[in-house]
Each structure stands twice: as structure tokens, then as C-alpha cells.
């Protein structure tokens, strides 16, 4: 067979592209764990949360989260009553101006509340592991992504630390690690859930207010729970496809 110079010029680049995929090969997957069999999320049962901060401390221990940074944190909301005056209701509307505190992310719990008026509740927050996450879409180098099992992860070897994703997250769940200088966030304890364990925060929660859920598992109790409870996600209007389900979430939560 005779190849002309013209044919060679066309064939060489094509061969180079093909060789690349040959070299890549078929990477081995983790044994006993099929990524396509899972679609992870979490259920937060607000009435069960007592604001002890166990989850925040457990997350810091498990994932070496630096002090002052949080992969998960707890907020305490206080929505005041609606006292009416002669001229009408007081402003601002307590529902749109709740009092929110989170001292050191709630790591050491909260000061005892003495004001009996209004209502209180605790809102644990963490990465929502959105199915259409804004943070992964803005990464200029492909260092953050949604894994095939629905977990939003950061490739810290590839991250430049440009912090676009930190700004893009509508839930404030990302930070730049102070010493690694790359984006860091909740991995939904990916190193645990792929071994059949639950997350550190769920393991440490004393009241069961947090539950890891696998939406692809037909036997997961989440399916029955979603049918029988009023469940909401944060900022549904942003269409992020959040998979952090809050039971009994108050309208004042932002």
C-alpha cells in the first residue's frame, strides 16, 4: 500500500487522537461499588435538630476542616411574633427579617435562648449536591464536577483557586482552603459512602435529624418520607436541582 504525502498529512493527526484514547484504557472502578447504582442526597428533619453542633465537630474531625471554615454549619432562626399596633402591624415582617445566629458555625452549640416569644428552629446547612449545580458550570478548568453518583466534588490537584465556584454557589457552601489555596467543600463524605458507611455528620447526629439518602435505592426510606411529609429544598426558584431535602422548613429560611 502506498500512502501519498497528502494522505499522510490527514492520517497522522487522526492517528494521534486515536492513540490517546488507546492509552487511556479502561480505568478500574472501586470494587463492590457501582457509581451508576447510586444518586446521593440528604434529608434534614428540622423538628429533630437541637442545635448541639455534633455534626459540625464531626465534619471538622473527619475532613480536617480548618478552624473558621465550614463544610457544614448550623443556623438558629428566631422568627418573632406579630405584635399589632393601633396603626397596623409592626415592620419589618418577621418572616422576611428573622434573627439568624450561627456562632462559630454552631460548632460548640448555641447560647441558651431566654426570649420565649416567637418561634425558634435550627437549620443545618451543607452542600446541596445540586443536580444542576451552578458551581460546577463556572469552573474554567474542569476541576469541580458532579460525579456519576450525584455528588459535587472538587479535584484539588486540578483546582486553580480562582474562587469562581465560591461566588457561584447560591448556598455559600464553598470556601478557599487557607493553606491548600484551592476550593474546598462538603464531599458528602464520599470516602465513607462509597464504603457503605454513612456520612460523619449523620453518624454523629444524636437525634437522627440528618439522614443520608440514596434516591436510586428503591428501598431507601426517603421515598416513603417524601410521600408523607412536607419537604422543601433551599432556594427552589434557582432551579439548582438541590438534593438536600428539608422536612418542615419555615418560609423565613434563606
Amino acid at each position: 500500500m502506498k500512502i501519498t504525502r497528502r494522505q499522510l498529512m490527514i492520517l497522522l493527526p487522526a492517528a494521534a487522537v486515536a492513540w490517546e484514547s488507546v492509552l487511556a484504557g479502561t480505568p478500574e472502578d472501586a470494587p463492590n461499588y457501582k457509581k451508576t447504582d447510586h444518586w446521593w442526597g440528604m434529608l434534614i428533619d428540622i423538628p429533630k435538630c437541637i442545635g448541639c453542633g455534633n455534626c459540625v465537630r464531626a465534619c471538622q474531625t473527619e475532613n480536617d476542616v480548618p478552624d473558621g471554615f465550614f463544610r457544614t454549619w448550623v443556623e438558629r432562626y428566631h422568627v418573632s411574633d406579630w405584635p399589632m399596633t393601633e396603626s397596623g402591624p409592626i415592620t419589618p415582617n418577621p418572616l422576611i427579617a428573622p434573627e439568624v445566629i450561627s456562632p462559630d458555625g454552631g460548632k460548640e452549640g448555641f447560647p441558651a435562648a431566654t426570649d420565649e416569644s416567637g418561634k425558634y428552629f435550627f437549620v443545618p446547612k451543607l452542600c446541596n449536591h445540586c443536580a444542576d449545580s451552578p458551581c460546577t458550570q463556572v469552573c474554567p478548568v474542569g476541576a469541580t464536577f458532579i460525579s456519576p453518583d450525584g455528588v459535587v466534588l472538587v479535584d484539588q490537584k486540578y483546582c486553580l483557586g480562582c474562587a469562581y465556584c465560591v461566588q457561584a454557589c447560591p448556598y455559600g457552601c464553598r470556601y478557599i482552603h487557607p493553606t491548600k489555596e484551592v476550593a474546598d467543600k462538603c464531599t458528602l463524605c464520599y470516602h465513607r459512602i462509597t464504603k457503605g458507611m454513612t456520612t460523619a455528620c449523620c453518624e454523629a447526629c444524636p437525634t437522627g435529624a440528618r439522614q443520608l439518602v440514596d434516591l436510586k435505592n428503591p428501598n431507601d426510606p426517603i421515598h416513603a418520607f417524601l410521600k408523607t411529609h412536607s419537604v422543601q429544598v433551599l432556594k427552589p426558584q434557582m432551579a439548582t436541582g438541590a438534593k438536600l431535602f428539608y422536612n418542615d422548613l419555615d418560609g423565613s429560611v434563606r
Binding site: 494521534a16 492509552l23 484504557g25 437541637i50 464531626a58 452549640g109 425558634y120
Partner: protein
Amino acid sequence: MSVFKDVGHLFRFAGLFVLAFLVFLVVRHYYVPKSFGQYGHYRGAAIGEIAQRPVKFAGHEACEACHSDVSDKKKAGKHAHVNCEACHGALASHVNHMMGTDTQVPKAGPGAPTQLADDPSLEKPVLPDTAVLCARCHTASAAKPKGFPQVDPASHSNGISCETCHNPHSPSMDAGGAK
């Protein structure tokens, strides 16, 4: 006079262009990681690397494998749903030490256990201080759910430690103190 008089220049330029493209492909081959694009626009191998991070909380199943006496007592009491490490802290290092699987945890680098292998706390972990521990959950606050058992620690026990009357594994007074 032909427009293509010096057509050879164009061919030489095209040749340079093809050469540059080939150089680009070769450089790209060495600089783009092999697994990039395996699942999407990211390095597929990163998933495996994140999954390899060491575990610090062993999980209550690991505790119950040896401490079934405690877990049986706990199951009968009001703390049945409280996992061991919620109070005792992360103890995968203890489990690894007792099971002789220390080697699975990297000894150096980020994420390595802070304790050394001859640390006695690996053999017998430090007991939590009930004065701090119980108060974290059970200190009375208007912010806590109304049905949750809450006390004012100062007036409730007069400084007597919690476990004098309550066994943390089965806290009802009928179950007796921890002895």
C-alpha cells in the same frame, strides 16, 4: 500574470500549520491527564482519589462488633438512636488498632492519624466528660424543640456529675447510675 505565481509559499505555510497542530497534539497528550473526559469534563481519577481519603469515624456497626454489651443496654434505653461516636468521638483509629488494621491508614501526610501507634488512648480511648457532653444537648433553651428533655445544669444536679444518677447508655433514673 497569475494570482498563484508564488503558490509554493502557501504550501509551506500550510505545512507549518500542520506541524504546529501535531506539536499541539503531542504536548496535549502529555499534559492532559489520561482520565480527563472519562465521565465528563473533569479528571475521572479524581473520584477515586477522593474516595481513598482515610475514615475517622468507624461507624456504630464497628463498635457493636465488640461492645455488644453496651449496645444491648443502649438499645433498651432512650439513647437507642444515639450512635456511639456521637459522644465518644471519632474512633476509627481505635478500631484499626484493635483489629490490627493500622496499616490501612497512611502513617504520614495530610489525613494521617494524629496519634502515634504506641498511644495508650488507641487501646483505651479517653472517656468523655459528662459535664460538657450531657450539657451540649440537654441544657434548657427556649430554642430547642419543646418535647426534647432539657434541664438547667446548675440547679438540676447542684454540681453532682450526671453519671452519678444517669447511666449515659440508658439514662432513665430507673436504670441506675453508671457503676
